[in-house]
């Protein structure tokens, strides 16, 4: 048994590239699967959500103006830094999800590989989701996928790292900015993930992380006039999901409904195409 | 549609001429600026460039809180920029608000130019009569250079005749003073507008075309400066008259200044590499130039303690 007294970490939100506490000053207790106390996580409030939206909108401007190649490089760098912290993530996942050594290692490795997979899509999805259209007239016509803007996402409750990464990566690789509500009971891997983001050249505000109760924060995001889409993947209560969809309808948000896929399998293009808008342009052809 | 006989001073005649100038490809200009920014200027050429840049500085203070004391201190620095090294050249001019021109002139005597901003600087939003009086006062106060602003509202509304008329009137009011016309490129927004405004100013009598007042978020940039250098070069081809260019605002480091000198050399040509035809509107730039000059002289990096704040 090590006699050294360890330095314990304070767990905060991640907004605009910085780590503030909740403006409400509230926290809630996080326990591992043996009910042992792990940490006091920040309990995000509607004002934190509001601040996150502001940060995301600013982050979106810079992120969507970057080249696709650049976005891919940044996401690849996130994977690199995660790889360097592999052991820490394995420990976090074990504590959060109660998985054994092999399973938690597999979850972490798959999370890193998932990021690499999505990073590689940055400069390619436009070639698969975009095209020219052979219209019946002397016009050049092309369709391109553009990011929708600011996307709010409720991360999966159980899959605290792999599910989280699988929800966030497709949102940002297509140029959107994200506000993510981490798993309520298992937020620690998400918070470690934000530390990786902060050291990986991700522009401030591109990914923002809130911890706390989705039932409290999500409705404010679902109704927010400056949020373009909402991803309800991690909402487990059908009542809450319905309520959020109703709120979102008020501003005609793009909504992705709750889902619980096998996160270990390689995804299809569904999530990649969920938060892009297709823009079609016409131009006459003539001397 | 203009008639054949219309002089090139009315809005319709000017519109036809200015809109007939070739367009500017923004991506191409920015790529050229970036490529020229990779020129590596070292050793002798760097020393030469630093001294030339110092000689081209219009040392500027344009604040509401300017006082005679502040202006005098700046003038002393303009005359002898480096108290530790008398070989450091003086700057080209001091640049102040028109009502400070007498203070500046008293401080520099005949050793430097005194440039005064006038014409309801920086916005230009006042009657022509007021703007002309502003000019006359500054000239009477000792300014031998006037930096005027064009009416950007009139320009963007397409009222080229009015913009032209105002410049002509200001030039007349300048008397013997030389006229710099500030285009405020940050408000013109497109490089096509910058090209057109450059030509308009030159045709109306500008001695210098200047990028900015320094009072709006976007000031001088290499791309904008290239467009203006192309304009003065083309104007020279047509008229055999050389007009000067002054980028102002946002040029803070020696590295930036040297990049601009490369732009001048490779766009308009060597003939423009003189304070008579190229100036930097700057304040903090001077200290960085002096620190670089010190570094080249003594061999190690200098620091802010070794240059004066005023």
């Amino acid at each position: 048994m090590n006699d050294r007294v360890e330095v314990r970490k304070t767990y905060k939100l991640f907004i605009g590239g910085a780590f503030p506490r909740s403006e409400s000053g509230r926290t809630y207790e996080v326990h591992d699967t043996d009910d042992k106390f792990l940490a006091n996580a920040a309990k995000g409030s509607r004002k934190d959500a509001r601040d996150a939206v502001l940060a995301a909108r600013k982050g979106f401007a810079a992120w969507s103006a970057a080249t696709a190649y650049n976005r891919g490089q940044v996401l690849y760098r996130v994977a690199e830094v995660m790889e360097g912290r592999r052991e820490q993530f394995i420990a976090d996942v074990q504590a959060a999800e109660g998985l054994g050594d092999k399973k938690s290692a597999r979850v972490v490795d798959t999370s890193i590989d998932r990021l690499v997979w999505y990073a590689g899509w940055a400069d390619k999805y436009a070639q698969v989701l975009g095209n020219t259209n052979p219209v019946a007239g002397p016009y050049f016509n092309f369709s391109i996928p553009e990011p929708t803007g600011v996307v709010a996402a409720i991360a999966p409750q159980d899959s605290s790292l792999l599910g989280l990464v699988s929800v966030i990566a497709p949102i940002v690789v297509t140029g959107n900015a994200a506000i993510v509500i981490a798993s309520t009971l298992r937020p620690i891997p998400a918070i470690t993930f934000t530390e990786v983001l902060a050291t990986s050249d991700v522009p401030p505000g591109v990914i923002n992380m809130l911890t706390g109760d989705p039932a409290e924060i999500a409705p404010w995001l679902a109704s927010h006039g400056d949020v373009n889409a909402i991803d309800l993947t991690g909402v487990t209560s059908t009542e809450l999901a319905k309520k959020l969809e109703i709120e979102a309808a008020g501003t005609v948000k793009r909504v992705r409904r709750p889902a619980q896929p096998n996160w270990l399998s390689t995804p299809d293009l569904g999530r990649l195409g969920a938060f892009v808008e297709t823009k079609t342009v016409w131009h006459p052809l003539g001397a | 549609m203009r008639t054949i006989a219309e002089p090139l001073t009315t809005t319709s005649a000017l519109r036809e001429f200015l809109h007939g100038l070739p367009g500017v490809d923004e991506v191409g200009i920015k790529a050229r600026a970036t490529a020229l920014g990779t020129r590596s200027i070292k050793n002798d050429s760097k020393s030469w460039a630093i001294d030339m840049a110092i000689r081209m500085v219009d040392l500027t203070t344009l604040e509401g809180m300017d006082t005679p004391g502040k202006v005098r201190a700046m003038c002393a620095k303009a005359l002898r920029p480096d108290p530790t090294d008398p070989t450091a050249p003086s700057v080209a001019a001091v640049c102040v608000y028109g009502d400070m021109a007498p203070v500046a002139r008293a401080a520099v005597g005949d050793n430097l130019h005194v440039a005064a901003v006038a014409t309801a600087f920086p916005s230009g939003r006042a009657s022509l009569a007021v703007k002309l009086q502003d000019v006359r006062d500054a000239v009477a106060g000792g300014a031998d250079e006037i930096d005027m602003v064009i009416d950007r509202g009139a320009f963007l509304a397409g009222n080229y005749g009015l913009v032209h008329e105002q410049i002509v009137a200001v030039k007349a009011a300048c008397g013997l003073a030389h006229l710099k016309v500030i285009l405020e490129t940050g408000e013109l927004r497109t490089l096509d507008n910058v090209r057109r405004a450059s030509w308009l100013a030159m045709m109306a009598g500008a001695d210098f075309i200047k990028t900015s007042t320094g009072k709006v978020p976007v000031a001088a940039t290499p791309a904008v400066t290239i467009v203006m250098l192309q304009a003065v070069r083309d104007y020279y081809e047509l008229t055999q008259t050389r007009i000067g260019v002054k980028p102002a605002g946002g040029i803070r480091t020696s590295k930036d200044a040297i990049k601009y000198l490369v732009l001048v050399k490779e766009t308009a040509g060597e003939a423009w590499l003189t304070p008579d035809l190229f100036r930097f509107g700057a304040s903090t730039l001077l200290n960085d130039l002096l620190m670089q000059r010190q570094r080249m002289a003594v061999g190690h990096y200098s620091g802010p303690d070794y240059v004066t704040i005023d």
Binding site: A68, Y69, G72, Q73, Y76, D113, V116, W117, A119, G120, W121, A122, D123, K124, Q127, V128, F140, T266, L269, H283, P284, L285, G286, A287 | P22, G23, V24, D25, V27, G28, I29, A31, R32, T38, R39, S40, I41, K42, N43, D44, S45, K46, W48, A49, M52, Q230, L261, V262, K265, E266, E270, L273
Partner: protein, 489 residues
């Protein structure tokens, strides 16, 4: 005093060139069976840089066998996600050692350090990054689910962009699951050999990449080897044709990227200063050693004179000299042979009655150099309008109307690229529709990106490199007998 730029040389110290190099086979450097070597030279100084091995039939066999073993046992059974990771490693290593590669490329090829540093090396790394991402996404390449690799690819590349051409070949081949045997040009082997070191640093399984050096004979041995499934060649049209003949009647696939004589078309409403930049970039970038060079300038007659004047004025600022100097714009011609070819064609221009103008450049005493040259009053019948010069020589012709421009531009057996300069959008799109060329640049020139497919029409070759279309050159696309045709892989 005027503003003269003092010499600003990039340091050579970052690179350590060995006195001699072996062949990179099965993950190791080995001596050539015959023991034969040849010299590689710095074209700016004529100094010998190193001795390069000459691969003979035995070496070629060893390389092909190594590639085949690596394919059968390792690379074809590895999943795409893992292949991707090797390619990402290679991309990262190229970025890390970028300056070293740039200096070495300049020494061996003669191109200005500014170009190798700012264009060649970053693009090469980008190619590996781009293709790394495809390795585990081939289901989306447009060729149906789970497309298969071809097997072993034999790749022969030219001397004009040694490292970049290597990247264009190896990255997609590996991403799609093939293994390779690559032969760099005999005058520019050094960056390929340094790349072999990168493969070792990346722990790439031995045999996946084999680099064998040599000249025309070695290339022929690769082409004729029946243990190879696919040949990818970039080089002269003559050699391309002979390769196509050699593969006739076999089942081996082929893609060719050959020469060009691109038309750069400037209309009277073009932004002249940027058009001049585009013209200069089009023919003087990389000393004109570019297959897609804008070597035929088609000027609308009404603006011809003023454009030529603007062009000549711009050419006065081009700096020719030491390629390692960061301010050099025009480097050395890669070899004595190439300079002879250029000179011969320049002489034909004079003999056939075109007007020559050469930029005033000081030519160094040693090395091979050609100052930027413009020929005006050129017509379609002149040799300098029809044959690829592959040097800093521009032929200027005129046209009156858009359709005449199209006719003249298309009147050539080549069809690699073309340039269009005009402010009018509809004209850009109409011209792009009508020009028979694989790459069309509008209001720009010489833009390359791994995501953008590159390749020619007609005698400029077939097949594409880069983009989603470039993948099909290294994948099987079905068992339909039509697909057995060359270049339709």
């Amino acid at each position: 005093m005027t503003f003269e730029y003092a010499p600003a040389p990039e340091s050579r110290a970052i690179v350590s060139i060995a006195p001699s190099y072996g062949l990179f086979i099965n993950g190791e450097f080995v001596d050539p069976t015959s023991g034969t070597t040849f010299k590689t030279v710095n074209p700016a100084t004529e100094e010998v840089l190193a001795e390069i091995s000459e691969a003979n039939q035995s070496d070629v066999n060893a390389a092909v066998n190594s590639a085949r073993r690596a394919y059968d046992r390792v690379w074809s059974v590895m999943n795409g996600r893992d292949r991707a990771k090797y390619l990402f490693r290679i991309a990262r290593l190229l970025q890390e050692r970028a300056r070293e590669f740039a200096v070495l490329e300049t020494l061996d090829n003669g191109k200005p350090i500014r170009e190798s540093r700012d264009i060649d090396v970053p693009l090469a790394a980008a190619h590996f990054f781009y293709h790394a991402g495809w390795a585990d996404k081939l289901d989306y390449a447009g060729l149906g689910p789970n497309p298969q690799a071809l097997g072993v690819a034999g790749q022969i590349i030219p001397w004009n962009f040694p490292l970049l051409m290597l990247a264009w070949k190896i990255a997609p081949a590996l991403a799609c699951g093939n293994t390779v045997v690559l032969k760099p040009a005999e005058s520019t082997s050094l960056t390929a050999l340094l790349f072999a070191e990168i493969c070792q640093q990346a722990d790439l399984p031995p045999g996946v990449v084999n680099i064998i050096t040599g000249a025309g004979d070695t290339g022929r041995m690769i082409v004729e080897h029946d243990g190879i499934d696919k040949i990818a060649f970039t080089g002269s049209t003559e050699v391309g044709k002979s390769i196509a003949r050699a593969l006739a009647g076999t089942s081996r696939k082929l893609t060719l990227e050959l020469g060009g004589k691109a038309a750069n078309i400037v209309f009277d409403d073009a932004p002249i200063d940027q058009a001049v930049e585009g013209i200069v970039d089009g023919i003087f970038f990389n000393q004109g050693h570019v297959c897609c060079a804008g070597s035929r300038l088609l000027l609308q007659e009404s603006i011809a004179e003023e454009t030529i004047d603007a062009l000549k004025r711009r050419l006065q600022t081009l700096r020719l000299g030491d390629p390692l100097d960061k301010n050099t714009d025009i480097g050395a011609i890669n070899s004595r042979e190439q300079l002879n070819k250029i000179d011969e064609l320049i002489k034909s221009g004079d003999d056939e009655g075109a007007q020559r103008w050469t930029a005033p450049c000081e030519i160094p005493d040693k090395g091979w150099w050609c100052a930027p040259t413009i020929f005006t009053n050129v017509t379609q019948a002149h040799r300098i309008a029809r044959e690829e010069i592959f040097g800093p020589v521009l032929s200027v012709l005129t046209f009156r109307t858009p359709d005449e421009a199209i006719e003249k531009a298309n009147n050539t057996p080549f069809g690699l690229s073309a340039g269009i300069w005009t402010e009018k959008g509809s004209r850009i799109l109409m011209m792009a529709n009508e020009l028979r060329a694989g790459v069309i640049w509008a209001n720009t020139f010489n833009r390359f990106d791994p995501a953008s497919p590159f390749g020619g029409f007609k005698e400029s070759g077939f097949g594409r490199e880069g983009g989603i279309q470039g993948l099909s050159g290294y994948l099987q696309s079905g068992t339909d007998s039509d697909d057995q045709a060359k270049g339709m892989s």
